[in-house]
């Protein structure tokens, strides 16, 4: 690697003059990396404008190359993935030090996303399932990953797996956020274009904490479906109903997170008849995606009778997983109680107070 780096620096157009770009993945699926490539030939513009110094998915730079850099040497780091083990944490802290501008890129880094759904269970339950109980597990000896193992006289070390998944900004200081699972290609390019413009033309940076590559409203605001403010008597899961192609999905009883999700994706999912699942995260001016959705649902459920309301609500099979599918790391209530779970009692009915 050092060879090619040298070659680059002896180039007539000195690479050193180009701002440095790093892309990293922590606890993520890799979709955000693919999304960057989805900008297609514009990736060449990225390469023309930046010196890519670290990108494990696509290039062969190593962690030690980053460790060897000066603090603040990287101009921009797009960091995707949540923080769920010691290695993720180490890399987050390292890249924070080395990068002038650190961007939480994609839903995992912004709000925990799918990895953070494990905050609705415990590390023990996760391990039990993954290493012992899942139907596809073949693990007769019951092996579980250990932080330290000895193999043929060598010490092997694995990063410690955390009880609770964190968003990037719960671990290090973050400058900007790009939401989405994954961020849509046109939005990624819009963000990169803005950055290039700022670097080239000396434009001022947006205020710290700005959400880039997304809108200022909710998915409903850019959804092409007609909303009639209907009332819901029953919830349907997507496989239980053939929805009307033009009408609002929520109006038809399909749990659509549109009202509780930031816009910016051009309402991808409802446009193709799938309910929004909430990947662009918390909309502006709200603090908790689940609370926002509960509020929205309470307005459309068509009943004033507590018992009937409960029956209708039975149609929402997984409240925590549906309302916080992408934002559980940032949920107001934190993680599920593991140290001292209270045995939930049968839900008290409300007739006692309805009288």
């Amino acid at each position: 690697m050092s060879e090619s780096a040298e070659k680059q620096s002896s180039d007539p157009a000195p690479a050193a003059a180009k701002p440095k770009l790093a892309l990293y993945w922590a606890a993520s699926c890799g979709g955000c990396e693919i999304a960057v490539l989805d900008i297609e030939e514009k990736i060449l513009d990225v390469a023309a404008n930046f010196d890519i110094v670290f990108w494990p998915v696509a290039m062969d730079f190593k962690t030690k190359d980053v460790e060897a850099m000066e603090d603040g040497e990287i101009t921009l780091c797009l960091f995707n993935g949540a923080i769920r083990n010691d290695d993720n944490e180490y890399m987050a802290k390292l890249l924070r030090r080395k990068a002038k501008v650190l961007v939480a890129f994609g839903s995992c880094a912004c709000e925990g996303c799918i990895p953070a759904l494990s905050n609705a269970t415990s590390k023990k339950e996760t391990f039990d399932w993954v290493y012992h109980k899942s139907p596809s597990t073949d693990n007769a000896e019951g092996v579980e990953p250990q932080i330290k193992t000895k193999v043929n006289g060598f010490d092997l070390e694995l990063p410690k797996f955390w009880e609770t998944v964190r968003s990037l900004d719960q671990i290090v200081d973050v400058d900007y956020y790009v939401p989405g699972c994954p961020p849509q290609a046109h939005q990624i390019w819009a963000v990169l274009e803005t950055v290039i413009d700022i670097l080239k033309n000396g434009k001022p940076l947006p205020p710290k904490g700005t959400v880039l590559g997304a809108g200022q409203k909710t998915v409903c605001d850019e959804c092409p479906r007609t909303r009639e403010e209907k009332k819901i008597k029953k919830f349907f899961r997507p496989h239980e109903i053939i929805p009307d192609p033009d009408k609002c999905l929520l109006d038809q009883g399909i749990l659509c997170m549109g009202p509780a999700t930031r816009d910016g994706c051009d309402a991808r999912c409802p446009s193709v008849c799938m309910p929004c699942r909430g990947c662009y995260g918390l909309p502006p001016n709200s603090r908790d995606q689940g609370a926002k959705m509960i509020s929205a649902l309470a307005s459309v459920i068509d009943s004033e009778d507590p018992e009937e309301v409960d029956k209708i609500l039975d149609g929402i099979v997984d409240p925590i997983g549906s309302f916080y599918r992408f934002s559980l790391a940032k949920a107001t209530l934190g993680r599920k109680l593991t140290q001292r779970p209270e045995t939930p009692q049968a839900q008290p009915q409300l007739e006692e107070v309805a009288k």
């Binding site: 929402i316 409240p319 209530l333 934190g334 009692q345």
Partner: protein, 157 residues
């Protein structure tokens, strides 16, 4: 944004023992009362010198329908062990149907609490009219008993 330095949640010693050892612990209960009925009812309880639980802290909202679910979650996060939402009786809401909305919200939040491993009895919904000071006193005393029996809510953040 908050920075969390460690992933390891604080370990608690056995749950039941907490109430015996922690003699200093007193339940914290936050109550959201609608301006027109329940708040006046609670006021009446005070004026009538009825004994009602000192552990209940009242927050007045214009209507129980103004009670955003965020308020409830935020109250728990900031240390409440229980939350009461109280409004006008069904049919009496001064904004017509705010209390029905509150009822649906409370039902949904309870389901969320169950997913969190939190006992749903920590969130109570009641209807108390302006003349029902005695009922308000009863509600708070009952809720205080419930919360005492459940012990402190220790969220893991």
């Amino acid at each position: 944004m908050t920075t969390v330095t460690t992933s390891a949640p604080k370990t608690e010693t056995s749950a039941g023992a907490a109430s015996d050892k922690d003699t200093a612990w007193k339940p914290k209960i936050v109550a959201f009362l609608c301006n027109w009925c329940s708040y006046t009812g609670a006021d009446l309880a005070g004026v009538s010198r009825l004994k009602w639980s000192p552990y209940v802290r009242v927050i007045r909202v214009m209507c129980s329908g103004r009670m955003d679910p965020t308020f409830v979650l935020e109250a728990f996060r900031k240390g409440a062990d229980g939350v009461i939402v109280s409004g006008c009786h069904p049919g009496d809401c001064h904004y017509v149907e705010g209390n029905y909305k509150a009822m649906r919200r409370v039902h949904l939040i309870r389901r969320l609490l169950i997913d969190y491993g939190v006992d749903p009895r920590r969130l109570k919904l009641t209807w108390v009219s302006a003349s029902e000071g005695d009922i308000w006193a009863e509600v708070t005393n009952e809720m205080a008993e419930t919360i005492k029996s459940l012990g402190p809510l220790r969220l893991e953040k």
